[in-house]
Assembly symmetry: C3
Homo-oligomer: 227 residues x 3
């Protein structure tokens, strides 16, 4: 029996030799083969320990993966917030800018009725909020806008220009009639909050005049920031 | 002994049959049970290989987790930098804007002492840096600011307006007295760097005058950017 | 033989006792040791199940790591995009601002040839795009710029100032000669798109004059936004 069991182990040793399992170095048929089984049991014990180590490491790895997942989700959330803030900053950089001068090289007025000045020589019109055919700027978005306007006029008639927001005067320029001074200049400017669709333009009062000229009687504006 | 050992393995085979371990198909009490042990040893060898494969894969997985951790930390650091840059960009978008006109429809001056002009008709005052009771703008933050001011005045007295930063003149407007010209206009503007708390206002010189009017004698400013 | 095998297992039990393997509580030399082998086989079955569980968990963990890797790469890509957008926003915040006044407290002109006005009193010059020795502003980048200029002049000669972009007039100010009005003021402003290297300055026409003064005849500009 001893011999037969030994044979079995020897056979197994031969077939499994390549994996280095149960190798009985120097064993002969006459020597007892019990140490092989013992070695086998030892190997099993080693493997058990290894498996436990693997289990422990795997658990650690799993919990690290979990932590990474949570961190990744937190990062994703923060990145989304940052992206939307960048989008808002980019939108705030919406460009609305114009400058234009009166096209005709002639007197505008005096006439009996107030008149919206049409600045037909466009210098700049980013965003096309200013209409060079009507002289009217229409706010494309709610925001804080800046407008400036300058005039030149002869002294033969008084001057009164009003920067109008919808139907209300924001700032004005005025000059008296004088036969002693050939011409005068003036300007004004203001920051105005506008709602989307608000109209801003320069109105010449009835019985007043201004000298048109693409270069000296001008109207400018820009969107400082959205609200 | 052989028989007894065989019995044991058969018993074990029966109890462990559900896991497919050491099943001895067609084994009878009379047949030798050594092949079962051999199969067991083979299974052990297979398991050993599997365990080694698992160990290898786990090591790879662990090193990937480590790489992910480092990448995650690098991403976190970069995201924090980006977030703080976005915050700076948002802060740079701090809004300080005002426009105001002199409220009284009357001459201001001439008087014996210089006088800070009080523009009591507020058109815009985002950030409340301009005080409509004193006429003084106080810089809420260090930055680059723009100021413009325009006047209208009759010809009976000279005009001198100074844009004052703390106690120093930045830019000015002046006009002579003339009995021949009923009125004049003027304006000026400048970009000025201000420290937090710096005061900016328009001063009328002694013995000079200006025509107050909510619409034509105005003062405007805005924060171009923080520094 | 039975006795010898039992001895072997007992010996193994003793040597592996610390790992808790094959412990035969209460076993004596006279009791049969087969239950130990049975226990061993059971333990092996348990271990096999554990290994399978470990394999399953490892596969899950590996696929989660793979998902994390992909997510991490996606986050990295998005973060890079956000970073470059923030960079663009920061670059858009490039600061180019200047304000200067004519240094000499004297008349400039009239002379026979047109003359570039040199505003030698620098109030602000962020970015050094304005040259106080030549009076010329050179656009450091392509963008939308704003320029304003104001003058004061006596009435003895006419005034004509042109805001020149390269060789073209953008906006102008003009005033007549008058012996009846001691002095006049004027200003103008415009938003102008400039290419990098474009030159902007104020030109005084031949036979015209302006009153130099660091405070009242001024030139300002700033980069509204890059294009």
């Amino acid at each position: 029996m001893n011999f037969a069991f030994c044979l079995l182990l020897s056979f197994c040793s031969l077939t499994l030799g390549q994996e280095g399992l149960l190798e009985t170095e120097g064993t002969t048929e006459n020597e007892p083969c019990f140490p092989d089984l013992c070695k086998f049991i030892k190997e099993f014990a080693v493997m058990k320990v290894k498996l436990e180590a693997v289990e422990t490491k795997l658990n650690e790895s799993e919990s690290q993966v979990l932590v990474l997942k949570e961190k990744g989700e937190a990062l994703e959330t923060k990145l989304k917030e940052t992206e939307s803030q960048v989008l808002v900053l980019k939108q705030k950089a919406l460009k609305v800018v114009f400058s234009a001068g009166i096209l005709e090289n002639a007197a505008i007025g005096p006439i009996k009725k107030p008149k919206t000045l049409v600045y037909g020589r466009v210098i700049t019109n980013v965003g096309n909020a200013y209409n060079q055919n009507t002289g009217i700027f229409v706010a494309p978005v709610r925001g804080m806008y800046y407008f400036s306007f300058f005039y030149h006029a002869g002294g033969g008639h008084p001057v009164r220009l009003r920067l109008i927001k919808n139907n209300n005067s924001v700032v004005e320029i005025t000059d008296h009639k004088t036969l002693m001074d050939g011409a005068d200049n003036g300007g004004n400017a203001a920051f105005v909050e506008l709602q989307q669709g608000d109209q801003v333009f320069v109105r010449l009062d009835a019985n007043h005049h201004v000298w048109g000229n693409g270069y000296i009687t001008t109207f400018s504006g820009f969107l400082l920031h959205q609200i």
